[in-house]
C-alpha cells in the first residue's frame, strides 16, 4: 500500500457521523533545466506535496459541501485543512445533487503511465539533452540567428484518493519534455518557431527532433507577410488541432452543459458535425498523453464516445454533474492537483484517424492556408457561444502544396460551423501534452482577416 494512500486512509477514518469525507493526497518531484549559449542558465529541482479534503455534511434537504487544501502533509496542516473544510461546508447551500463518488463495477484499465527507467537518468544526462538540443538548433542551419530558450523538464507525480463512501485508489505518472525556441532571420527580419519532444521519461526524448522542428518552423516563416483578407479553407497543423480539440472537449464537459455554459446544450442526438467526424475521449489508450487508470474521484477511467459519425452522443461527467443530468459518472472527474476540487473534463480526446497523409490533405484541399500556430485562444474562442477568432501564422497552400509564408492575420468562424465544415482528417495522430491528440485537419469556410 502506498504511503500516500495510508495518509488518505487516516484522514478518512476521522469522518464523523452525518458527514462524508474525501481525501486526495499528492506528491510530485520536478526538474527543470534551461540552457543558453552552451551553458546552464537555470536548474531547478523540487519536491512538493499536499492534500485536498472535501467534506459533505448530510441534511434533510441534501448535502452541503466544503473544501480545503494544504501544501504540506504535516499533521498540523492536515488538521487545519480538515477543520476548514468542515467550517466551509457549514456555509454551503444544501443540495440533493451533491455527492461523493461511490465505487462502480468498472475495473481500471491496465495503462502504464510511469516510465520504469525514469529514475535511472542523472541530472547530468538531462542537462546534456538540453545542451544537445540547443547546439543542434544553433548550428544546423545558418538561417537561425538565435535560440532564446532550450528547456528540459520532467515530473514524477503520485496521488492517492480515499473516501468514506468506499473509494480507494492510487496511481503515479511520469513525463518529460524538451522544447526549443528558435529565431530565424538576419538583423532586419525576425521569425520564430518552436520544437518539442515529449514522452513518459527522458529516454524517449529526441533532442535532434526538437531542434529540427524549431529550425523548420522558424526558417520556413522567413519572408512572411500579411496576406489579404479572404474566405478560405484552413488546414491546421497537428499541434493547433490539439488545441482546437481541447476547446471542443471543454464544451463537451457535462458540467458545462448542465450549467448552460456550452453550445452543445440541448443538442444530444443531433447531427452536430459532418458524418465522417467521430470524437472519442479514451484515457485507457496507453499511447495517449493523458492516459490514466483513475479519474479525479478515484473511479476507473473509461472510453467515452462523444460524437459518433457526426451525431452528438454524450458528454463526460463527474459524480455531481452526472447527478444533475440524471445519469451516472463517466469516470471523467479531473482536478488541478491537490488545491482544486474535481470537475468534469476530458483527458485523451482523439478524432478517428483519417485515411490521408498530411500531403494528401494538402493536395485534396488545393488552395487555402496552412496554420502552424495560433494565438489568443483564451481571448477569442468561446466554448459557450462558439465564437472563434484567433491570430494565425503559417503558409499559403497553392496547387495542393505549401507555398509562401504569412503572418499577422486572424482566422474566424464559429465552432458550430467548423464542425459542419470539416473537409479532411489526416492519418498522422500525434499525442501531445494536453487533453487531445494532434493530427492534420482541414476545415472550410473561414474568414481570414489581413491587409
Amino acid at each position: 500500500m502506498s504511503e500516500l494512500l495510508e495518509i488518505a486512509d487516516r484522514i478518512v477514518e476521522r469522518s464523523g457521523s452525518g458527514e462524508r469525507l474525501e481525501a486526495y493526497v499528492a506528491r510530485g518531484v520536478e526538474t527543470d533545466v534551461r540552457v543558453y549559449e552552451g551553458a546552464i542558465e537555470t536548474l531547478s529541482t523540487a519536491t512538493s506535496a499536499g492534500v485536498g479534503i472535501r467534506v459533505l455534511l448530510d441534511g434533510l434537504d441534501g448535502a452541503r459541501a466544503g473544501f480545503a487544501w494544504a501544501g504540506s502533509l504535516e499533521g498540523e496542516a492536515i488538521d487545519r485543512a480538515l477543520r476548514s473544510a468542515r467550517e466551509n461546508a457549514s456555509f454551503a447551500t444544501p443540495d440533493p445533487m451533491v455527492a461523493l463518488a461511490v465505487p462502480d463495477d468498472v475495473p481500471p484499465a491496465s495503462v502504464e503511465v510511469s516510465d520504469p527507467e525514469f529514475s535511472t537518468f542523472s541530472i547530468d544526462d538531462k542537462i546534456a539533452m538540453a545542451l544537445e538540443a540547443e547546439r543542434l538548433a544553433r548550428s544546423s542551419d545558418v538561417r537561425i540567428r538565435q535560440v532564446d530558450s532550450a528547456d528540459y523538464g520532467d515530473t514524477s507525480v503520485a496521488f492517492a484518493i480515499a473516501s468514506s463512501t468506499g473509494i480507494r485508489a492510487s496511481a503515479d505518472r511520469t513525463a518529460a519534455y524538451l522544447s526549443v525556441s528558435a529565431i530565424a532571420g538576419d538583423a532586419d527580419e525576425t521569425q520564430t518557431g518552436s520544437g518539442l519532444s515529449v514522452g513518459r521519461g527522458p529516454g524517449s526524448l529526441d533532442p535532434a527532433h526538437a531542434a529540427a522542428q524549431a529550425i523548420e518552423r522558424s526558417a520556413r516563416m522567413l519572408g512572411a507577410t500579411k496576406v489579404a483578407s479572404t474566405k478560405t479553407v484552413v488546414v491546421f497543423d497537428p499541434r493547433v488541432t490539439s488545441t482546437l480539440l481541447g476547446v471542443i472537449a471543454g464544451a463537451l464537459s457535462g458540467e458545462a452543459v448542465v450549467k448552460g455554459r456550452s453550445f452543445f446544450e440541448g443538442r444530444l442526438g443531433e447531427q452536430v458535425a459532418v458524418p465522417s467526424f467521430t470524437l472519442v475521449d479514451d484515457p485507457t489508450n496507453p499511447r495517449a498523453f493523458g492516459a490514466a487508470r483513475f479519474d479525479g474521484e478515484g473511479l476507473a477511467c473509461r472510453a467515452n464516445t462523444l460524437i459518433g459519425d457526426g451525431v452528438l452522443e454524450g458528454f463526460v461527467y463527474d459524480t455531481v454533474a452526472a447527478n444533475r443530468a440524471g445519469t451516472s459518472s463517466t469516470g471523467s472527474a479531473v482536478r488541478g492537483g491537490f488545491a482544486g476540487t474535481p470537475g468534469a473534463g476530458c483527458r485523451a480526446v482523439v478524432l478517428g484517424a483519417g485515411t490521408m497523409t498530411p500531403d494528401e490533405v494538402l493536395a485534396n484541399v488545393g488552395s487555402g492556408v496552412y496554420v502552424q500556430s495560433i494565438t489568443g485562444v483564451h481571448s477569442g474562442v468561446s466554448p459557450v457561444s462558439g465564437d472563434f477568432s484567433v491570430g494565425a501564422e503559417g503558409l499559403v497552400i497553392r496547387d495542393g502544396e505549401l507555398a509562401e509564408p504569412f503572418r499577422e492575420v486572424t482566422v474566424a468562424s464559429t465552432l458550430q460551423r467548423m464542425l459542419q465544415s470539416i473537409m479532411a482528417v489526416g492519418s498522422d495522430v500525434t499525442w501531445l501534452p494536453g487533453v487531445a491528440a494532434g493530427q492534420t485537419l482541414a476545415i472550410g469556410d473561414f474568414q481570414l482577416s489581413g491587409s
Binding site: 447551500t93 457561444s385 491570430g391 486572424t410
Partner: protein
C-alpha cells in the same frame, strides 16, 4: 549571490452558482525557495519544510549547480529588515463568511433582474494573503504582507441566436474595505447587460478598421503591444522587437507609458518585489520615445545597473523573472465623446478580454468582450466577440487620439507558466487602423 525567499500564503474562495452557495474553499501553503547564482548560472530549489534541515537540504541542492565554488563560510551583514505591513484596513479573514455570501447573493439577484434571458449567473469571491520575506548575500532583507480581494460575476444570456457571456470583475490589493465604495449589484448588472447585448450582436468585421478603445476597457493593448517586449529578459536575449530601440520613436508622440508598482490598491501593487526591491514608478515610453526597459536583479546585474523593482514570481516554488506591475498610458487632452464623434466609421470597444504576444516578432492579439460599430460618429450596433491582431510598434504609431479620462483594470498575466496579478490602464484612445478578426467581410 544566494537568496532565500520565504512565503506564507492563505486563500479563500466562495462560489455562488446557479442560485446556490456551491463551493467554499480555503487553502494554505508555506515554503521557501532558495536561489544560488554563479556567473550566468542559477541553481534553484524549493521546500515546504522550513526546519533548519529542510532549508539546508534545499540550499545544498540549489548550490549543487555552482560547481567549483570556493567553499568556506562567508558572513553577510544584512540590512536592517525593511518590513512592510499591509495597508488593508479590514482583513478579509476577519469578516464573517455569511457577509461574503450575502454580497454574492446580491450580485446574483441584480444580474438576474436584468431580464429573463439571463439563464446562468456565477458570482465568486476570492481573498488572498501573501506574506513574504527575502534575504540575500547582497544584504537584502525585506518583507511584505500583501492582501488581495477579488469579486467576479459571469453571466450567460440565452436567445434565438444561442448563448452569450458577459463578465465583470473588481480586484484590488486591499482588504474587505474594497466593498465600502463598490456596488456589487452594479457588477452583476454590467455583466448581465454585456451578455444580453451580444444576443442581438452582428458578426464582427473582418479587416482593417479604425478602433476606439474606451477608457479602462482593459489596457491589455499596451500590456501586449509593448509591455512584454520591454521586459529585459527578452532584451538581453535579442528576442524582442524593441531590442536596441532606446531613445528611438517607438510610438505616436501621444504615448507616455508607465509601469508603477507603487499605485496603492491597484491589482499589481506591492511594497517590495519578490527579490526584496522596493516597488517603483518607471517611465517606459515618454512622448513616443522609448526611455527604458523593465529589470529584475539578474538582468540588471548583467547590464551593471539596478533592478527597477520588476522581479516577481508566482510563489516560492518559482524563480523570479521580469514582470509588469501596473502598466498604464497617461491620459491625453481630448474629450472622450469627441473622439467617437470624430470617427466616421469604425469599432468602439467598451471592454477588452485577454491577449497574447510574440515578443520577438511583435505580433500580438487582444480580444473584445463588449464592442459596437461606430457609424457616422455614433456608437450603434453591438458586435460579437473577436480578436484583433497587430504588430506592436506599428499599432503604437497609429494612436492618433487620446482622451482626458482614465481608469485601471485588473488582470492576470501569464509568462513561462507563472501567473501574477497585474493592473492595466488607459484613457479613451483611437487607433487609426488595426485588423479586426471577425467573420463579416
Amino acid at each position: 549571490m544566494a537568496e532565500v525567499f520565504c512565503e506564507d500564503r492563505t486563500s479563500r474562495t466562495a462560489v455562488y452558482d446557479d442560485g446556490k452557495v456551491e463551493e467554499l474553499s480555503s487553502g494554505q501553503q508555506r515554503g521557501a525557495g532558495i536561489r544560488v547564482i554563479v556567473g550566468d548560472t542559477t541553481g534553484f530549489a524549493h521546500t515546504a519544510d522550513l526546519s533548519e534541515r529542510g532549508l539546508l537540504e534545499a540550499a545544498a541542492s540549489a548550490a549543487a549547480v555552482a560547481k567549483g565554488g570556493g567553499g568556506g563560510v562567508r558572513t553577510i551583514p544584512l540590512e536592517q529588515l525593511r518590513a512592510h505591513s499591509t495597508r488593508a484596513r479590514f482583513l478579509p479573514d476577519d469578516v464573517a463568511t455569511s457577509e461574503k455570501i450575502s454580497l454574492l447573493a446580491q450580485a446574483n439577484d441584480a444580474a438576474r433582474s436584468e431580464g429573463t434571458s439571463i439563464t446562468q449567473v456565477q458570482a465568486s469571491f476570492a481573498e488572498g494573503r501573501r506574506r513574504i520575506l527575502v534575504a540575500s548575500t547582497d544584504g537584502v532583507f525585506a518583507s511584505d504582507d500583501q492582501i488581495r480581494t477579488r469579486f467576479n460575476v459571469m453571466c450567460v444570456a440565452t436567445g434565438d441566436t444561442g448563448l452569450q457571456t458577459g463578465y465583470e470583475s473588481l480586484a484590488r490589493t486591499e482588504g474587505f474595505e474594497v466593498f465600502d465604495d463598490a456596488d456589487v449589484g452594479e457588477l452583476g448588472r454590467i455583466a448581465a447587460r454585456r451578455a444580453i447585448a451580444k444576443l442581438s450582436a452582428r458578426p464582427a468585421p473582418s479587416g482593417e478598421v479604425p478602433v476606439v478603445l474606451a477608457g479602462g476597457s482593459g489596457g491589455v493593448l499596451f500590456h501586449e503591444a509593448c509591455g512584454h517586449g520591454l521586459e529585459a529578459d527578452h532584451i538581453v536575449k535579442d528576442s524582442s522587437v524593441y531590442c536596441g530601440q532606446l531613445g528611438q520613436q517607438v510610438a505616436s508622440e501621444l504615448v507616455t507609458l508607465v509601469d508603477d508598482g507603487t499605485v496603492a490598491g491597484e491589482w499589481g501593487a506591492f511594497a517590495v518585489d519578490d527579490e526584496g526591491r522596493p516597488a517603483q514608478r518607471n517611465v517606459l515610453i515618454e512622448n513616443g520615445i522609448l526611455t527604458d526597459y523593465m529589470w529584475d536583479y539578474l538582468r540588471a546585474r548583467k547590464e551593471g545597473r539596478t533592478s527597477s523593482g520588476n522581479g516577481r514570481r508566482e510563489s516560492y516554488q518559482h524563480l523570479p523573472m521580469v514582470r509588469m506591475t501596473n502598466t498604464f498610458l497617461l491620459a491625453g487632452e481630448e474629450d472622450p465623446d469627441e473622439i467617437v464623434a470624430q470617427t466616421p466609421t469604425g469599432v468602439y470597444v467598451a471592454k477588452l478580454g485577454g491577449g497574447q504576444v510574440n515578443t520577438a516578432t511583435g505580433d500580438f492579439v487582444f480580444g473584445t468582450n463588449e464592442a459596437y460599430l461606430i457609424e457616422n460618429g455614433e456608437i450603434t450596433e453591438p458586435l460579437r466577440d473577436a480578436n484583433l491582431i497587430g504588430n506592436g510598434p506599428e499599432v503604437l504609431r497609429r494612436i492618433d487620439a487620446l482622451g482626458t479620462d482614465f481608469s485601471m483594470m485588473p488582470g492576470t498575466c501569464g509568462k513561462d507558466g507563472q501567473s501574477v496579478p497585474v493592473g492595466c490602464g488607459q484613457p479613451t484612445l483611437r487607433i487609426s487602423g488595426v485588423t479586426f478578426g471577425g467573420t463579416s467581410s
